[in-house]
Subunit: 312 residues, 2 copies
C-alpha cells in the first residue's frame, strides 16, 4: 500500500487531497505532518477520525527528525500555506535523504510562465531547489477554483457559498481560463500520484475552460438572475500593481491582482499554454476521469450545498 | 525550403551550425544576422562565399528593422556570444512579431538545474522571456566540447590542437559527463530544427559520456603517453567561487569554475539528469545519427587535423 505524507492537510487544497485519496480505489496509507501547536485543533482531530496518522513536526526544526518522519514514505504532497513555502526547502531535503520516491511541491494553482506572478515564482524557486538535489517530483496545477470564480447575483442567493464573489469582468472577459472544483482536486491528485508516467513531469488537472463572459451567462442560465458586471481594465490592474514592480515583496492584494492579470489579461491559464510550458494534461492521461461541471457547481451553490472556502 | 536566420554565425558554435546546415540533406536558405561593423570582416566574407545571405543589423537597434529582417524566416538560431545574451530579448520579441515558427535560444552547453551556474541562469531567464511571449522554441544543449576536454601530454604533441588543455582531475574524476565534438554540433542542430517533435522542447545532443579518468586513459591509449593529472578538489573550487557567492556579477573565471563544479563535482551534465530536467535526447530521436567518437577526435588532434577553438 502506497504511503503518502501530506503537509497542509487541514487547508482547502490539502483537505480535498485527503478526501480524494480516501475515496480512491487505490488504497493509501496517509500521514499528515502537522505543526506541534496544531495537534489539538478540531481540524487535526477530524483528520485523525478519518483514519489519518498524525505526526506532529516542525518543518523548520531538526533535520534528522524530519528524515525519520519521512522514512518509509513513498510520496510527499505539499499543500503548504503560501506564506510558508520556504519550509519546502528543509522538507524536500529531508525527503531526498529519506529516499522518498515522489515529491509533489505546492503548486495547485493556475498556469503561467515565470516572471508574471510573485507567488508562482517562489514556487518555481522551490522546484529549482528540488531539481538541484535531483529529488523525483510531480508538479500539479489545477487552474482557478470554481469556488472563487462566481459573481454574486442581485438576490444574494449565492452569498452563502462565495467567500470572494467576483463580479469583475477583466479586460473584456473573453480570455478562457482553466477551472476546477476544489472538491475534485483530490480525485485528480490520487490518479496523478499513482501514475509512473507523471514522475518528473508537470501535470495540469482541470475540468473546464470558460471565459468570464461565459461564466456570467451560465450563472444567469442556472439561477435565472443576471449578475451585475463591473469592468476592470488591463490599465486599472497595472496601476494597482505598479507599486510592486521590480520588488519581490509579498502582499496578498498583489497576489490577487497578479492572478487576475495573468489569467484575465494575459490569458496564461489555458491547457494550450500549459502544454507549451511543458505540462501534460490529466484529461489526456485519464480520459474517463471527470470532475464536476461548473453548471453543477452553480446549482450546488444555489441550493446551499457549497461550503465557503477559507471559512473552516 | 526552410528559411533559417542565425545570430553569431562567425563564432565557434555558430560556425559549426552553418556547416551542419549546409551539409545536411535537407536544404536550408540561410541568413546570417551580422553586426554592421562586422560586415567587412574576413569571417563574414567567408560566410558570404559559402552562399549565406548577410544581413547587417544591430540587435539593440530599431525593432521595426529587426522585424523586417526576420519576416519570412521560419527558424531563428541564436549562437550569440554569452556577453550579448541580453540581445536575445529584442531578438525574440521581433521573432514573435515576425511570426517566426521556431526560436532556438543560445544554450548549446552543459546540462544543469537552475542556481548552479550564473551563465546558464541568464540563458534560463531569456527562455523565461520567450515563454512569457509564447514564442515557439527549442532549447538545444550539447554537453561539454571535446575541444576543451583533453589534457596536454608531456611531449606537447596535442598543444597545437588545444586552446585550453585541461589536466585537472576534478573531485576524483569519476563523474561521467556528456561530450560532443564542436564539429558535430551543426549536424545535430540540422536534425533537431527540422523535426516537429522538438517544438517547445529541450533537447540534449551529445555523442559520448566519459569521466575524466576515462578521458586520460583514452588519451594514453591513443597517443601512447600518460597525461600528467593535477588534482582539483571540490573544496578548492568552492574556495575560488566564494567571492562570487550570492552575486549575479559575470566573470569569465567564475564561469569556468562553475562549469567545472557543475559537471565535475555535482555531476550535472549527464543524459539521465537531462531527462530528469525535462530534456529529450537526440540519440533517442535520431538513433542513426552518429557524431565523431572521442577516440577519433584524439587521433585527429594527434595528427594535426583539429583547429584550435577561439583562434580564428
Amino acid at each position: 500500500m502506497a504511503k503518502i505524507a501530506i503537509v497542509g492537510a487541514t487547508g482547502v487544497t490539502g483537505g480535498s487531497i485527503v478526501d480524494g485519496l480516501l475515496e480512491s480505489e487505490t488504497q493509501f496509507e496517509i500521514t499528515a505532518l502537522v505543526r506541534p501547536s496544531s495537534v489539538e485543533k478540531p481540524a487535526t482531530i477530524s483528520l485523525k477520525e478519518k483514519g489519518i496518522k498524525i505526526v506532529p513536526i516542525d518543518l523548520g526544526g531538526s533535520h534528522d527528525e524530519l528524515v525519520a518522519a519521512l522514512s518509509g514514505i513513498d510520496t510527499v504532497i505539499s499543500a503548504i500555506h503560501y506564506q510558508s513555502l520556504s519550509d519546502e526547502i528543509p522538507l524536500s531535503d529531508a525527503a531526498k535523504q529519506a529516499g522518498v520516491k515522489r515529491y509533489v511541491p505546492c503548486f495547485f494553482a493556475t498556469i503561467a510562465p515565470r516572471g508574471v506572478m510573485e507567488v508562482r515564482d517562489r514556487k518555481e524557486e522551490i522546484l529549482d531547489h528540488i531539481q538541484r538535489i535531483y529529488l523525483p517530483y510531480t508538479v500539479i496545477d489545477v487552474g482557478w477554483w470554481y469556488q472563487i470564480t462566481l459573481p454574486r447575483v442581485p438576490s444574494g442567493k449565492l452569498d452563502e457559498s462565495l467567500t470572494f464573489p467576483n463580479n469583475n469582468i477583466i479586460a473584456g472577459g473573453n480570455n478562457p481560463s482553466a477551472l476546477t472544483d476544489v472538491r475534485d482536486i483530490g480525485k485528480y491528485v490520487a490518479a496523478i500520484v499513482s501514475d509512473p508516467r507523471t514522475i518528473n513531469k508537470r501535470v495540469l488537472a482541470y475540468t473546464e475552460t470558460k471565459t468570464q463572459n461565459e461564466v456570467h451567462k451560465l450563472v444567469e442560465k442556472v439561477i435565472g438572475e443576471k449578475p451585475e458586471p463591473t469592468e476592470l481594465s488591463k490599465e486599472q490592474l497595472e496601476e494597482q500593481l505598479a507599486p510592486f514592480k521590480g520588488s519581490k515583496e509579498h502582499n496578498q492584494m498583489r497576489s490577487i491582482y497578479e492572478y487576475w492579470l495573468s489569467w484575465g489579461v494575459r490569458g496564461d491559464n489555458t491547457p494550450e499554454n500549459a502544454v507549451y510550458l511543458g505540462y501534460v494534461l490529466a484529461k489526456d492521461l485519464y480520459p474517463s476521469l471527470q470532475g464536476r461541471s461548473l453548471e453543477e457547481f452553480i446549482q450546488d451553490a444555489a441550493e446551499g450545498r457549497i461550503k465557503k472556502v477559507y471559512q473552516n
